[in-house]
Symmetry: D2
Subunit: 183 residues, 4 copies
């Protein structure tokens, strides 16, 4: 049983989502598949008292207001996902204005305060916001671990290429989450 380094944080990107965009239906469906492993991962991080950080689009509210963002995303496509995976009271939650979770957010300062040096990256879409975030994390010198069963993309080839790029260019470790956690 391998395990996460002691200074890891779990990053969950854009899972508070309305899926109202081209191919949103496909992404919603694929996101449903990652909900369970992601929940297990959250549970594990919580048990280990490691930080869980959501970084999410603000859905044009431009308001740091978790409840309103969740409410504005609620629709038949997102309902089950939101129910299962929305932030708890004690999870960190930041909004981001663009794709990368680092761009114009307090993420880097939060990670430094928490003495995090390893990011376990999850969420959607794998080839867009997760990949942009991985790039920015790499430039800021974080180690990257990508549980491939906790990341979803519209297109399977895009997902696969994003993983390849994270591995080859960003030196990320690509894993399956249940190889790292006790069930």
């Amino acid at each position: 049983m391998t395990t996460f380094p002691p200074n890891s944080a779990l990053l969950i990107i854009d899972v508070i989502n309305n899926f109202e965009f081209e191919h949103g239906k496909i992404l919603a469906k694929k996101t449903l598949h990652i909900v369970n492993p992601l929940k297990q991962l959250k549970k594990y991080f919580k048990k280990q008292q490691l930080p869980i950080i959501y970084v999410n689009d603000h859905y044009n509210l431009w308001q740091a207001n978790l409840d309103r963002i969740v409410k504005s995303c609620l629709n038949p496509l997102s309902e089950m996902i939101l129910q299962e995976i929305k932030p708890d009271e004690d999870d960190y939650f930041l909004i981001k204005p663009m794709h990368s979770a680092f761009y114009e957010t307090a993420l880097n300062t939060l990670l430094q305060q928490l003495h995090v040096n390893t990011l376990v990256l999850t969420g959607i879409a794998g080839n867009i916001c997760v990949l942009f975030t991985a790039n920015d994390a790499y430039m800021r010198d974080y180690q990257l671990i990508i549980p491939r069963d906790c990341m979803a993309s519209v297109d399977d080839r895009d997902q696969s290429y994003a993983l390849t790029m994270m591995k080859n260019v960003l030196k990320a470790e690509i894993i399956f989450s249940n190889d790292y956690i006790e069930n």
Copy 2:
């Protein structure tokens, strides 16, 4: 009657505050004096349909959650201020991790989306977070207008020097709010 330029936004810094720091009592008292002019200013900006943007400390919650931040700040010192001046549903609200409202926040992107080029800076403390924000605004090429009756500092000389610095170094226009708005 002078008036604000058409691409102005009202920035309100750190008024959601628990005043739990050295000289916090003094600052709370001085903040009470700016509540009324600030309310008038908000009313005016709302009538003109100009943006009102709160940027505020997150009080170690690191959670984009307006309600929890307001709640965590509520105490006898802050109560009246919060009642009078807390954000409305349609005001923008961003959290900031450090002093400047630009540092690791989405403020700049929001201002660009709103086509804002002039910032009307208000809030507390005038010689710290408001001044840091003014510096960063100046480096990003925004025009600055400072209604001196809507900004408070613990120490009167610090307040006065901050104003002087904004005027001389940052080319800010220092005004009294009621010279700019109809009562």
Copy 3:
């Protein structure tokens, strides 16, 4: 004959290079193939009085010193490339600490001063520094044009996927340079 928009700038990434890394020899060889179209493109931008901006690694000198950087990169692999394509006296030249040309550089401020809204991205490696730069440009709202014959990567599939990603995710226009310039 299509042409570049009036507010375009030519960005040339990391061509001042020592190629001293894994597969550096391959990249040097591929870079030789882009030298000629890139020279034509430079000539065209110069004739149109459009800005030409080099953004380049500092080769651990951490010194804003063009001559020393060029000198430190000079070796049999780079010699011909440097001869042909090194910055002229009147080209802009910025050093960057990491992959993206925007990360911790003055590029964004320079582009704003020059009223640039469209970036013509060239250089090496296409799937790394050029792609990272493209991502950051997109988040900052620049239009992107990629002359595919002026960008090189070690691996052809990586090059091709980078182009696909720029097209699909970043809405970049992928072109051949000589469709845009008179020869």
Copy 4:
């Protein structure tokens, strides 16, 4: 004899200067007074093998080209200063686009690579670029030491207020350089 902490770096702001601005003559004259202590400080840092980092305006060249910047600044006002205090081959040298040495520069990444956590801030103008830099350093969690005899401002009261602000707001240690170095 007090001494600098082991992870200190000497920051020298904007001393490569043409003094061609309002009150430039006054600032040039005051800068002459700091040249000697600053040289001693440089010598001390060099002997201790601690990093010396110049961060400087680019004088609208937008070119990372130390020689051209020095040359463009050379005039009767600056000549003696440049002669005495210009960067050596082995000093770090970064250009900055605006007032703060951190804004759109690689300074933070350089400092992290050098494991610096304490900045000894020097240069001109004390109440503008040095103060802006101090603010940004404080937000990035650096300890600050200000040798007051190595910092110059046009106006003595502005200099004095900048020092007060650094001390009270930014928790900087205000010193005289020769209390810290052996002569």
